[in-house]
């Protein structure tokens, strides 16, 4: 518990006066499916990350030591600042995000269990997939091109420290090609003639996910969040 008791109180005091607090209490909590405890813990974490600033910048993520070894670290950090994920327009990167944005991003990973409604679950599934899609589609043109896919594969392959970069590059290319071809096959839509397959659109992307349970795949259990001291 890196946050001391006094600062907690101070935070609660000031947060009650904050303008976002009312907003959160009214709508935000319902929307994000978090309970009060979780939001409190998330806020503690947010403050730790930001260094008691109102916003987080990408550099702040350098403090998370555990992230260092993640092969797709830059993608994940980027996803936190991606305007598409934040629901602000169709592209671009935000300079910094506030707590609300932070919770918005985290809420992509909330459990599915409370959503018994089928349509809602489907919508929710799309939402999660959209998040993943956005992390692939870096330029925001709505298509995962071969180049983009290849970079993803390279990132993933480089998780293994022993493999040689040259090998990774050569293999990543063919794997990405294979995957793209597979997606083209799965997309199964009559495309215009004479036009090579450009890349995976979001609809195709969803099709490649057919038959997979997302329920356990993109969820973090937030029941017992602990705000651990991470900066030293």
């Amino acid at each position: 518990m890196g946050v001391s008791h006094s600062s907690k109180e101070a935070w609660e005091r000031e947060s009650r006066t904050d303008f976002w607090w009312r907003q959160m209490q009214e709508g935000f909590m319902n929307k994000s499916d978090f309970n009060w405890d979780q939001i409190k813990q998330l806020h503690q974490r947010f403050r730790l990350l930001s260094g008691d600033q109102p916003t987080i910048r990408p550099e702040n993520f350098d403090n998370v030591l555990d992230l260092e070894s993640n092969p797709i670290r830059s993608r994940i950090v980027r996803a936190f600042f991606d305007n598409r994920n934040l629901g602000r327009g169709t592209g671009g990167i935000a300079e910094e995000i506030n707590f609300e944005d932070f919770v918005t991003i985290i809420s992509y990973f909330r459990p599915l269990r409370s959503r018994r409604n089928k349509e809602e679950a489907e919508m929710y599934r799309r939402e999660k997939l959209r998040f993943l899609f956005n992390s692939y589609d870096q330029d925001g043109d709505g298509i995962i091109t071969l180049q983009e896919y290849r970079r993803v594969v390279e990132d993933l392959l480089s998780a293994n420290p022993q493999v040689e970069p040259a090998w990774v590059r050569s293999i990543a290319n063919s794997i990405a090609r294979g995957a793209l071809k597979e997606a083209a096959r799965a997309s199964n839509q009559p495309a215009e003639k004479g036009q090579p397959y450009q890349g995976i659109t979001f609809e195709d992307f969803i099709k490649t996910w057919q038959g997979i349970d997302l329920e356990v795949k993109m969820q973090v259990s937030f029941l017992n969040l602990e705000a651990k001291a991470l900066c030293q």
């Binding site: 692939y136 090609r177 973090v220």
Partner: protein, 899 residues
């Protein structure tokens, strides 16, 4: 009928047992000088034990075959039920014949020989990711559930006795009932596996029930031992510290067993790292060390089942990476064979053992009470635990899952073996317990085993869906794993994903480096693996499809008469020019562009593009006992990759959407084929319809040949029988080969036969030279490939290629290298013009390359060129042996032609 045969077979050992008296009588007068060298001696006693073992296994296997003769029966009744019933019948016969119960399930045999293979099999092939994803639930059910079942059942039975519902003959106290409860409450891995493998519930449900049955062994062993020692001590002497010790031993036994397993897994992985030169012992190592783990744990009275499970689970990743492909197959098959064998024998012996009425004593109250309690408390326990677990699980287990879980708690041979092990002097009610256990085991295996399938159907339990992994999904899942780990990092929540990520990093940094071969861990990556497997699958299905496409699209097979005449002209041309004996006229056949040639060309290119080059014949150490030539295999793997990648690349470049669509269309059909092959393997005997194209053409050619050459025809049919080759592209070449063969026998005795110099036709249609031959071997094989399981299909094709690619004559394939065709070969629409495609890549002889006719892309490596060089020098007869051989061949061929 078969059953009668089986029964006869069973009597054999008994007859043998009867016969044992003869040799003993004979051996009695041994004191006298022997009458001389005995011509025939009957030594049953010396072979009795192994003979009986072998016979029992044989009986069990035959029974399995009989059961599976009828699909209907096996789809309704689980095999375990049938085996138990068979055992009952056999036991009855044994009892009737021998007047005493024999061949029972001995606890020693069971624990030392029959159980380990099953547990090893299940541990080794356990889907580890799924297992660890559900580890929490599995552990809860295994530990808490077993404890709960033991105590509730034991106490309830004791209460039943106190209530006077159990006959007073059953002398048992609370401790005895707890002991009984401990052995009767454990879900049995063998029974669960046997039933659930046929039910196909979804993976999560399966892994929970099955994982529980494996892991609860530790709890069962501890409870059994503790209760047993308490009973032996007498309840009065049990101190408080003993209870504490009992609790402590739970941890010692379970953790100790797991630790032993992991240590042996480590050793095993480390050992297989150094077996590069002795590939042949790799499978043996796996079995030996796993068995050693089992025995060690058993010796230290730790949980042996846990040890083997952990050993299998832990070593798999590294062992699979280290050992060769063949060893992997060997391990897989041996493991499955042993496990299924042991399982069969266990169930059969269970049935036989139940017949022995001297062992058991019946008490209805106890039996019925036990049956009711184990069902009731199992259900209650599952519901309670699931309720708690669902508070934490992301995907809650719903009511249907709980029903299946509680109903799937089958008891089996472990309980039976444990109850047999009880000491009658210490546990006076042993006979009653034995009877109850037998009834419980039979009830769970037969009644529950029979009804669980309809129940699952009726409840509409989510079944397992066998979708093949796609590359995209594999990639996405990896991304998800990383994202989840990252989010847990960011949020500061050290949950499951966090620790899994940590473990993977540790594994990659240290463990894999330590335990994997350097060559293995360099390229060891799951994504890569999936890509690799998909590529191979594609290659196989493409090859399959290639034949399919060729016949189905009706590749303009020319009409009969024209083809005949054309073929004839070409053949006669060939004959004429070879009759001249001198160098062949290169221009004569070149002009002949027959339909068949074109067709051959198409086929050749198709094969060229879709197949890899067959392995070259290796003279060295091909039959060595300690050495399996490996590099050829690896070379092939590599090559199939290169080709595939090239093909993918090419087709990707030119991939238009419509092509993708047409390409993807045959796939489902193919899948249907495969499924058919799985469903009724007998159907594969009748060749798939796509073979018809080949057979038709081949038949035509063959008849044509028979007119010309009887000699070669006869030998060809002989060959056909051997290899099952019916192929059109080979026909002309076949004639040449046969002629050569017979010629060489007469004139030149040396086994080395020099292939004919390339004619113009060979240049254009390269399959007419030696390499075409090889391609043909391959192609004939493709008609056989019905990849039931990708792996097996692959292996089959590899092994049969191995045998096929080495032609019967000892001629070294000089032109074996087939450079991959640069064009994407998957478009069946265009292949007709491929024959005239100037870029088609053949292995051109260097001499021709000099002549400027080659397209300079046959980059045959140097040794090959050297190999080729003398053969090409036929023009000036610079080399004597080729020249003479050539002329011999020509003469011989000519003669054959005239005949």
């Amino acid at each position: 009928m078969l059953r009668a045969a089986l029964l006869l077979l069973l009597r054999l050992p008994l007859a043998g047992a009867g016969a044992t008296e003869e040799p003993t009588q004979e051996s009695r007068p041994l004191g006298e000088p022997p009458p001389g060298l005995a011509l025939f001696r009957w030594q049953w006693h010396e072979v009795e034990a192994p003979y009986l073992v072998a016979l029992w296994i044989l009986v069990a296997s035959l029974a399995k075959i009989v059961f599976h003769l009828s699909r209907k029966v096996t789809s309704l009744v689980p095999e375990s039920c049938l085996l138990i019933l068979l055992g009952l019948a056999l036991g009855g016969i044994v009892l009737a014949v021998a007047k005493k119960a024999e061949y029972q399930l001995e606890p020693g045999t069971f624990f030392l020989f029959l159980l380990p293979p099953i547990v090893l099999d299940s541990g080794y092939f356990m889907p580890s990711r799924l297992f660890f994803d559900n580890l929490g639930a599995i552990l809860t059910y295994a530990v808490v559930g077993t404890l709960w079942n033991t105590f509730t059942t034991g106490v309830a039975l004791w209460g039943l006795q106190q209530a006077g519902l159990v006959a007073p003959k059953v002398q048992a106290g609370l401790l005895d009932f707890l002991l009984f409860g401990s052995l009767i409450s454990a879900v049995d891995p063998v029974a669960v596996l046997a039933v659930f493998e046929e039910v196909h519930v979804n993976e999560t449900l399966f892994i929970i029930v099955f994982g529980e049955s494996l892991l609860n062994d530790a709890v069962t062993v501890v409870l059994y031992k503790v209760c047993n020692s308490f009973v032996e001590m007498g309840s009065a002497n049990v101190q408080a510290t003993d209870y504490l010790k009992g609790v402590a031993s739970l941890f010692v036994v379970s953790l100790g067993g797991a630790a032993v397993g992991l240590v042996f897994a480590f050793l095993l992985a480390l050992t297989t790292r150094f077996t590069k030169r002795v590939r042949i012992i790799e499978p043996l190592l796996v079995f030996l060390l796993a068995y050693a783990a089992y025995l060690t744990a058993e010796m230290a009275s730790l949980s042996a089942i846990l040890a083997v499970t952990m050993c299998g689970l832990g070593c798999k990743k590294y062992v699979e990476a280290n050992i060769s492909h063949k060893s992997r197959t060997a391990v897989k098959y041996t493991m499955k064979t042993l496990a299924s064998c042991a399982e069969t024998v266990i169930f059969m012996l269970l049935g036989i053992s139940a017949v022995d009425s001297s062992k058991w004593a019946w008490d209805s109250g106890l039996v019925l009470g036990t049956l009711f309690f184990i069902l009731f408390f199992r259900a209650l326990g599952v519901v309670l635990q699931t309720w708690v677990l669902n508070q934490f699980r992301l995907v809650p287990l719903d009511k249907i899952d709980q029903v299946v879980m509680s109903y799937g708690g089958l008891r089996g041979a472990v309980a039976f073996a444990l109850v047999i092990l009880l000491d009658r002097t210490k546990v006076p009610a042993k006979d009653y317990f034995v009877a109850t256990t037998i009834v419980v085991v039979f009830f769970t295996v037969i009644v529950q085993g029979l009804t669980i399938k309809p129940l699952v159907k009726w409840l509409r339990v989510k079944r397992s869906d066998h979708h093949k992994p796609t590359l995209n999904q594999e990639l996405h899942e990896h991304t998800f794993d990383h994202i989840l780990a990252a989010v847990e990092d960011v949020v500061g929540h050290h949950g499951y994903h966090y620790w899994r990520d940590r473990w993977e990093q540790f594994d990659k940094k240290y463990l894999s480096q330590l335990l994997m071969r350097r060559s293995a861990y360099r390229i060891r990556d799951q994504i890569w693996d999936v890509y690799y497997r998909l590529n191979i699958r594609d290659a196989i299905s493409f090859v399959d499809q290639g034949g399919h496409v060729l016949s189905s699209t009706g590749l303009t097979l020319p009409t009969m008469p024209s083809r005949n005449s054309v073929a004839e002209t070409s053949v006669t041309n060939l004959l004429r020019e070879s009759g001249s004996g001198a160098c062949l006229d290169l221009q004569v056949i070149d002009t002949v562009r027959s339909g068949r040639d074109r067709e051959d060309a198409v086929m050749h290119h198709l094969l060229c593009g879709g197949l890899y080059k067959p392995r070259r014949r290796r003279y060295k150490a091909s039959c060595g006992r300690h050495f399996i030539s490996e590099d050829a295999q690896e070379r092939q793997d590599k090559e199939i990759f290169q080709q595939n990648m090239k093909r993918r690349l090419e087709s990707f470049k030119s991939t238009k959407h419509n092509i993708c669509l047409t390409k993807s269309k045959p796939r489902p059909r193919k899948a249907g084929h495969k499924k058919d092959g799985v469903a009724n393997p007998e159907a594969t005997n009748g060749k798939p319809p796509r073979d018809l194209g080949f057979q038709d053409t081949a038949a035509v050619i063959l008849t044509m040949e028979s007119e010309e050459e009887e000699e070669s025809d006869s030998s060809e049919t002989e060959k056909e029988d051997d290899e099952g080759i019916i192929f059109v592209a080979r026909a002309t070449n076949e004639i040449l080969q046969e002629g050569k063969l017979s010629g060489s026998h007469e004139v030149c005795p040396s086994p080395r036969i020099i292939p004919p110099s390339p004619t113009c036709a060979e240049k254009e249609l390269p399959w007419k030279s030696g390499q075409g031959d090889l391609a043909v071997y391959v192609s004939s094989e493709t008609t056989k490939i019905v990849p039931v399981d990708m792996q097996t299909g692959w292996n089959q094709s590899i092994s049969s290629l191995e045998s096929l690619a080495s032609p019967p004559c000892t001629q070294p394939p000089t032109l074996a290298r087939l450079p991959p065709h640069p064009l994407g070969m998957e478009e069946p629409q265009v292949p007709l013009d491929l024959s005239s495609d100037p870029r088609s890549s053949f292995a051109f002889p260097p001499s021709l390359a000099k002549a400027g006719r080659s397209r300079s892309e046959s980059s045959a490596d140097l040794p090959q060129q050297q190999e080729l060089q003398p053969l090409m020098g036929h023009k000036g007869h610079t080399h004597l042996s080729p020249g003479t051989a050539n002329s011999h061949w020509c003469i011989q061929f000519n003669r054959g032609g005239r005949l």
